[in-house]
């Protein structure tokens, strides 16, 4: 654990990517294999199954620290991280130890098989052997969300540096459903067997937002345009008579979307498609809200399958007859895709996402303006000669979205953020007018600069009218422009509607609260775009 704590400290003490990469690469060169594997797992979003609840942890930590539980609870929002709060209040360790990262993870895994009352002494014993940084990391292993300034991409780059392997090849090896329990460092990283895991997806290629006019991209004939759908990005894999559906966040969604079981009836094995999963009604996608009830579910009730059946609107072919096509130019992959999906019967759960023809950029801009009529969020622009890269790369794929919808709203509640944003008011509730009453309709957390967050934090402290636990009611004085991508009816909210991706796009210092929008204005948007 000392080595891993040292790695964490080196990473935490710098903002420079080069320094972080070097620290990680050193770790991958020198750490034992089981620790390396866990390090890769942690920085690619995998972690040991939770063995104790955070409630247990809080109680045990308060008891060990000799403070009442409420005092620990009050300290938590100020620190902004539970793992850190616990590490800070505990008394110094009374024993020294130098067990490995994997040792401590095994201690945590061992907790599953023993009764709750036996778990406590093991956790206390661990705390008593670990120094402050090690404890923080140990607690993080339990509380989850191992976000400490290392992206998966950065970790992959460091691993490439340490092993001499190609970064894209490694990125592919790290995809899929493996855990340190099901594989070894050697099998995952060193063995050269791409067929080892038949369910393994390819790393997704992600587009950048186009902020410049499309003319800057060069001649229009080098580009193809598609609708940008508002669904769930997914990869459908057909190999060995089994199918797998992966989300962009590398979550296996096969059971959530049983519709794709039939894909094998229409497509040959050795096929991998990239596309958007959308709820479909005959000729066009349903609004995102139709898809939403299916996101949180592991199994799907029949009613939902009937009301909102999903299909994949495929826009790329990554593998055909078992051959990796990613290096082929897009125009060739697209031709293969069209051939594969031509004459697909209506009941097939896969369709080609149509190309949007255009003669010049000006004409395309006009087409884009109609995107909402097609239930699309805008257009995707892809360079015809581009290979299928991995991760977010600038240059060949662009999303050219419609301008967001906006309303001006009054801030009425504020709450402090977590982690880096602890002690800052960053989470706000906004309201619009209904007569003389302010009706809350959305929360928003992002869009302001650090300086603006500082400013609003100082203001909130001075203008709190009432407190409800961590939430402060503030004087309705400040107006913000709230931008959002969509609007849908929602019986769960007092306003009767819910926004998609709301954020603060501007602080309207120039507007008095009376000038904010009304609930009727929002209802009009709902009627037009819901």
């Amino acid at each position: 654990m000392k080595r891993f704590a040292r790695l964490f400290t080196e990473i935490d003490q710098t903002k420079k990517t080069t320094v972080k990469t070097k620290a990680l690469a050193d770790y991958f060169t020198h750490a034992p294999e089981s620790d390396k594997l866990w390090c890769i797992a942690l920085f690619s979003g995998r972690r040991p199954k939770r063995a104790v609840t955070t409630t247990n942890l809080r109680e045990w930590a308060a008891e060990r620290a000799g403070i009442p539980l409420w005092l620990l609870e009050e300290s938590y929002p100020i620190v902004g991280d539970l793992a850190e709060t616990i590490a800070l209040v505990l008394p110094p360790p009374s024993q020294a130890s130098d067990h490995s990262l994997s040792h401590w993870i095994n201690v945590l895994r061992g907790l599953h098989d023993i009764p709750l009352e036996e778990r406590k002494p093991r956790i206390l014993n661990a705390w008593d052997q670990l120094d402050s940084t090690e404890r923080f990391l140990f607690n993080k292993l339990i509380t989850g969300g191992f976000r400490i300034g290392v992206s998966r991409k950065l970790m992959t780059r460091a691993l490439a540096k340490a092993t001499g392997q190609d970064e894209a090849v490694l990125a592919h090896k790290l995809m899929g459903g493996w855990t340190p329990e099901t594989t070894s460092y050697h099998t995952l990283i060193e063995a050269d067997d791409p067929a080892a895991d038949q369910s393994r997806p390819y790393p997704f290629y992600l587009a950048y937002q186009l902020d410049e006019p499309p003319e800057t991209l060069g001649p229009p004939e080098d580009w193809q345009a598609e609708w940008k759908w508002d669904g769930i990005r997914g990869q459908l894999i057909l190999r060995d008579h089994a199918h797998h559906v992966w989300s962009r966040g590398e979550e296996l969604m096969t059971d959530r979307f049983p519709e794709f079981a039939r894909a094998a009836d229409f497509l040959p094995p050795g096929t991998v498609l990239d596309g958007e999963i959308v709820a479909w009604e005959g000729t066009q996608p349903m609004p995102f809200s139709a898809l939403q009830p299916r996101i949180g579910r592991k199994t799907v009730p029949k009613k939902l399958l009937r009301e909102a059946p999903v299909i994949l609107l495929a826009y790329d072919l990554l593998e055909e007859n078992g051959t990796d096509l990613r290096d082929a130019p897009l125009c060739r992959r697209r031709a293969r895709l069209d051939a594969l999906l031509a004459d697909m019967p209506a009941e097939a759960p896969v369709r080609a996402s149509p190309l949007v023809p255009f003669a010049d950029w000006e004409a395309l801009a006009k087409t884009r303006a109609q995107a909402r009529d097609f239930r699309a969020e805008g257009l995707m622009l892809k360079r015809r000669e581009s290979p299928y890269l991995s991760g977010r790369k600038k240059g060949d794929w662009w999303k050219w979205k419609l301008d967001p919808l906006t309303v001006d709203a009054v801030m009425i509640y504020a709450q402090q953020g977590h982690g880096r944003r602890a002690n800052l008011f960053t989470d706000f509730t906004f309201a619009v007018w209904q007569g003389n009453e302010l009706v809350p309709f959305t929360k928003a957390y992002s869009g302001l600069t650090d300086k603006e967050f500082d400013e609003i934090t100082a203001w909130v402290r001075k203008n709190t009218q009432q407190r409800f636990g961590p939430v402060r009611q503030v004087r309705p004085q400040h107006v913000f422009e709230i931008a959002f991508e969509g609007i849908q009816p929602s019986p769960r909210h007092k306003s009767g509607l819910a926004l998609r991706f709301p954020r603060m796009s501007r602080w309207r210092h120039d507007k008095a609260p009376q000038e904010a929008n009304t609930l009727d204005d929002l209802r009009a948007l709902l009627a037009a775009y819901g």
Binding site: I67, P68, L72, L88, A422, N423, D450
Partner: protein
């Protein structure tokens, strides 16, 4: 109890028997001042009384004022109140103020820390009936490493920077923290100072406090020739154009707030060193215990949480709203 020794007014802490205020935040006729930080020693009062050790800095900051000095422990009668000043350990010359009226003793802590920093006169517990205590860091997550540990950490950082050809730039409050840092470190190269820090150095040196050799950075100073330097500057200067002339640099910030990772990261400096001139959680408990006070009034800091804790410990505790700032860092970005 009859008339309380001290009352809390919108101008600040007030003694009716002696007709004076302690660290008032609005202009008053007579002010007793615990120490020279801007949130405690404000301009505009008719007369000032502070320790001989604190007065030069207060004069330096406030200009022409009607002020009188007093030695630590010296008894002084003001109207119906007996007052004396006692070391608070916060910075050189800082004091707690003891006020006695009709056998009742109240003590105003000002800002304090109980550990000896080697430069300030060490904190002296003053037995009292009521103790008005700051609680800037009144949460159990705030416990400070020893000064020796932090010094070793900063020395190592400075040495590594010097070896790599980088300037070390340390942000610290220009009165108190800056001088404490320069005194506790093992020089790994020259110590350069920002004008605000050097001005305070000059005042303290003239009083006889011993500080290491420092070089003030002037517009014509050839900073690049001063290899392996440590620059001590107010935090606000580190982000300014002034800081860019030093070339490749590593930045650090020294404050109790650096105990929290979120704040450390938000500060955007390379390193955060946990060192404070305020008492940490154990320090607050120790100070309160050593006064033997039954009644504790808590001011600036996590007052609600801290007073609840004290009540559970069997104290009579209450919150006093004040307009003092905290330690430069999180809550009070403006006090440097």
């Amino acid at each position: 109890m009859s008339q309380p020794v001290l009352t809390f007014t919108e101008r600040g802490i007030y003694c009716p028997a002696g007709d004076f205020h302690i660290d008032p935040w609005r202009p008053v006729d007579r002010a007793l001042i615990t120490h020279g930080h801007a949130d405690h020693a404000r301009p505009g009062h008719g007369a000032y009384l502070a320790t001989d050790g604190a007065l030069p800095v207060i004069r330096h900051r406030l200009g022409e004022i009607a002020a009188e000095g007093i030695a630590y422990g010296e008894a002084r009668q003001i109207g119906g109140a007996g007052v004396s000043f006692h070391p608070a350990g916060h910075l050189p010359g800082s004091a707690q103020i003891r006020v006695e009226v009709g056998g009742q003793v109240w003590v105003v802590s000002g800002d304090y820390k109980v550990v000896d920093d080697g430069l300030s006169e060490p904190f002296e517990p003053v037995p009292c009936h009521a103790f008005i205590s700051e609680c800037t860091f009144g949460l159990p997550v705030f416990t400070w490493p020893s000064q020796t540990e932090v010094a070793a950490e900063i020395n190592a950082w400075w040495a590594a920077n010097a070896a790599a050809g980088r300037t070390s730039m340390l942000g610290a409050y220009s009165l108190g923290k800056a001088q404490r840092l320069m005194s506790m470190l093992e020089p790994q190269g020259p110590i350069l100072t920002h004008g605000a820090v050097e001005a305070t150095n000059a005042v303290l040196r003239a009083q006889g406090y011993s500080l290491p050799e420092t070089i003030q950075v002037m517009p014509d100073t050839d900073v690049k020739a001063l290899k392996g330097a440590l620059v001590i500057a107010p935090p606000s200067a580190l982000g300014s154009a002034w800081a860019r002339k030093f070339g490749p640099a590593s930045t650090g910030f020294a404050s109790g707030w650096m105990r929290l990772r979120g704040i450390r990261r938000r500060r955007g400096m390379d390193r955060g060193f946990v060192i404070s001139d305020h008492a940490d959680w154990p320090g607050l408990q120790e100070a309160i215990k050593s006064t033997g006070a039954e009644t504790i009034y808590v001011t600036h800091g996590y007052t609600e949480i801290f007073s609840r804790w004290l009540k559970e410990q069997g104290h009579d505790a209450a919150i006093v709203p004040t307009e003092f700032g905290g330690e430069d860092g999180a809550e009070s970005e403006s006090t440097s």
